[in-house]
Symmetry: C2
Subunit: 268 residues, 2 copies
């Protein structure tokens, strides 16, 4: 993301978050904060003269008991406490509004690095079978229906049966569960089978927590014996780009992009 | 279930299924079958002069490669092969129709032993808080919405956030996942918190795969640090009855029954 944003002509400062940032940013000017030192995060961003902010990474909610009581944190504590409640979208819109109240502009990652989205028409590996296309359509309908409740960015479908639905555990853990279902006999179809369907929630704030897939997703899907990935076109971040697609193709996994259905479910 | 049916005046024959039946049925006349010997199951039921059939237990789909090719199995093979496809309701209606085509009547467990349902108005342990009642309402709406896709008998909600949704893994594994979410920091609310909401799917065939809770559910919920159970009134089987409620109360877990909402979700 940092490289793509720089490639698109942006000046990039990277604010590393303890326990979240694990890549090598030695090519970039960087600062450091913890999830629990909000005041410090804001002063680091000001020091670097940042105005626009892009939030990426696999965050967990902060432990409120460990928040540091600096002045910046204290000022926004009422909003911070609300992060306890609701689904991820709600939390993300609170976080965005926190930074915006401090004068920053929170941008969608895809506004800064549009080339990182899985594009419409993407197709790597073999073509999904007609049956797999039906599974993908079922999966998209379920995700569209769940989105109204601010839950569900991904699920796995095989033979018109929803095997696993992601809630708070994250996509990789949900995929791993499908391997477990194979081992304990609850999912008996010979591997490779099962499609991971991943999409943004309807009405999701695309500035935060954009669905993301990468080489780790491919590794997890291969380990679980899945057949392919179906990604919501122009709404799923694919930061590893061609490297991920090459890995998927090598491992026999298909990758396609799909559109969300307009309606939310069957029989309504 | 066998004891309750006998108590209600029924003659009871128990057909034990290898790998599924693990209780002591020495008080009953019994036969034995495997999930893969359908012809044998039918001849055992005929031998015992059974006419009405109640199916209970934690079944997995059979491994088709291991089906035994006896005459009874061969005759119904086309239907058996369809069990590969679709959600649990679809599979259950196929299984019911298989037995009905052989002249058996498949009855809902609650028709034979109505006293085993979690009744409307049930309340054990403390009263759920106003916030927990909101979490339960959210959970019921999500389950109602998912039911249309033949998935989702249970989920866990805390602070208006859906933490886990059950698909093929089963309720106990889904509850255990909430304990895991606590340990890995994705669910930070102090235990006990989080409500298990369990319901029949809208339009579910109540003859098969009725949602069931027991002492094992209570043990799993306590281990995961949950606060209580909300059960769909008159639609959830509670075979351990008072023993389960006493255990829940002792362990500080509340148990209540609730009605499903008439509409399927927010904003529709």
């Amino acid at each position: 993301m940092a490289r793509a944003a720089r490639g698109a002509g942006h000046d990039v400062f990277v604010l590393l978050v303890d326990g979240v940032s694990d890549a090598d940013y030695s090519d970039f000017e960087t600062g450091r904060t913890a999830l629990t030192t909000v005041g410090r995060a804001i002063s680091e961003l000001r020091r670097a003269r940042c105005r626009d902010l892009v939030v990426v990474g696999n965050f967990t909610r902060p432990d409120h008991a460990r928040l540091e009581w600096d002045w910046g944190t204290l000022k926004i504590m009422p909003r911070l406490l609300q992060i306890r409640f609701g689904g991820d979208d709600r939390v993300n819109s609170i976080v965005s509004s926190l930074f915006e109240a401090q004068g920053f502009r929170v941008l969608p990652p895809l506004a800064v690095a549009p080339g990182l989205a899985a594009p419409a028409g993407l197709a790597a590996g073999r073509k999904p079978s007609k049956e797999e296309e039906e599974d993908i359509a079922l999966g998209l309908s379920v995700l569209a229906s769940l989105g109204a409740f601010d839950v569900g960015q991904a699920l796995v479908v095989s033979h018109r049966r929803v095997l696993a639905i992601e809630a708070a555990e994250g996509t990789d853990a949900m995929i791993a569960r499908c391997g477990e279902l194979r081992r304990n006999g609850r999912f008996r179809e010979a591997a490779p089978s099962g499609v991971l369907v991943k999409a943004a929630k309807p009405g999701q704030d695309l500035r935060m927590d954009l669905p993301t897939v990468g080489t780790r997703t491919v590794e997890a899907a291969v380990a679980a014996g899945l057949a392919g990935l179906a990604l919501h076109a122009d709404h799923v971040l694919m930061p590893d780009g061609q490297e991920m697609l090459d890995m998927a193709t090598r491992q026999g996994l298909f990758v396609v992009t799909v559109d969300m259905p307009a309606s939310a479910g069957p029989g309504r």
